[in-house]
Symmetry: C2
Subunit: 228 residues, 2 copies
DNA sequence: TCCAAAGTTCGGTGAAGATCGAAGTATAGC
DNA sequence: GCTATACTTCGATCTTCACCGAACTTTGGA
């Protein structure tokens, strides 16, 4: 295609203040959605869409589609290096390091993502039940194994009823604070509601933060993380 | 002054094609004059002047005034690093390494600079007569020593007559292909004319190239470089 | 089927800035 | 003094592009 993109083309991509803000927000390595990046740059989603298309075309960022979201991240380590160097040149040594993902540490730990659990704990959960052999993650598809079916049915999950819904039982969701997958789908929803039902945690009414009780977190870890 | 220059400001400086061409031309480390840079970028000198002012203000290049010329070079190694990285990102691995200074190798070796000798040989000459103790180079001023006066008068130079002219006897001139100094002034002029008089070299009528004869170069080296 | 949310495309506006002609300043050497 | 060269400044033009409103597409979930 563009066999010899001039260095001025690349530079002018970062040369726009809005695009620069987006790139810096992505410098943390976390994938961010289009609307989050629009918010970060203080522009409307239309403008952001145009900017993001240019950055993708210029191979500075990569996009990963997930449902109705599009998550963006920097394309490779060298782009990050370029940004670091520019930051260095900008302010002497002022590496103002980048608020990416949720600014709130509580949000990073555990939060609602639509109707399921997200954040550090959710990522840990996903990897735990995967390594336990409850989930099979292949080709972007997540499937419950026979072993996993038994496990969750013993916990009281009505898998048959979930299966009747159009919504998939298991789905992976890219976690934007951890940049790794967590579990979505009906089962993901059930796990979260089960958390509330057991009173291990409850949702903060004014935010998406999910606060675990001390005892609840212990039992949650015992239940899901013990087998690692 | 500009306490926090955004990275987009720096990037947009390189984001202009004309400025990018100039920067790349400077990547070789050699200082180039404003008009040479204008030629490199295929723009008029007015436009180049505007661009160069912006690059200087943005601390990407430094300027060194010399008579009616202004020589520019990259400001520091980090700017060069930035350009290298951009080049790398531009074309995969296409480090198209930069034609700086005279494209013609003969021009790099020896050429006319106004009325005196420039190029690799001229730089070598300057350093040779300096280390021989013929010239004293201090605070940007070049002066002929007593030893040097004897040396050149023995060669037939009429230093007294040169001193009567308004033009300084010795002056250093930044060599744009070697980025080091060579000798200008009346003495520099005399050396060149003496070269022609002795038939050690002659100027190509269609360019600024000075072509040494094989024998002439030997005798020139014997005369000026032997004491090193 | 219907709605809401995420994102894109299109069209028009407005501002930034690259470019050059013309005129002005500074320097070198006569 | 003069002339030529190197470079800058001013002014006008013209292109590019960021921005947003409005309408459209896609997806998720009831």
């Amino acid at each position: 295609m563009h066999n010899k993109p001039n260095i001025s083309q690349i530079s002018s991509l970062i040369g726009d203040p809005a695009r620069a803000k987006m790139m810096i927000a992505l410098l943390g390595g976390k994938a961010l959605s289009a609307s989050e990046l629009a918010l970060e740059a203080n522009i409307t989603s239309q403008t952001a869409s145009s900017h993001l298309a240019k950055l993708v075309k210029g191979s500075l960022i990569a996009v990963q589609k997930q449902g109705r979201h599009r998550y963006f991240q920097l394309k490779g380590q060298e782009v990050a290096k370029l940004l670091e160097l520019l930051l260095h040149l900008s302010s002497g040594v002022e590496h103002s390091h980048v608020k990416t993902g949720p600014r709130n540490p509580e949000l990073r730990t555990a939060r609602v993502c639509y109707d399921h659990l997200a954040g550090r704990i959710a990522v840990q959960l996903f990897e735990s039940v995967s390594s336990n052999g409850y989930l099979a993650f292949r080709d972007g598809q997540v499937n419950l194994t026979a072993k996993g079916r038994t496990f969750f049915e013993n916990l009281g999950a009505d898998l048959e009823q979930m299966r009747t819904k159009r919504r998939p039982l298991c789905r992976s969701c890219l976690d934007w604070s951890e940049r790794r997958h967590h579990l979505a789908g009906s089962l993901g929803q059930w796990i979260l509601s089960d958390l509330f039902k057991k009173r291990w945690a409850k949702k903060d009414p004014d935010s998406r933060v999910i606060g675990f009780t001390k005892k609840g977190l212990d039992q949650f870890s015992e239940l899901y993380f013990s087998g690692i």
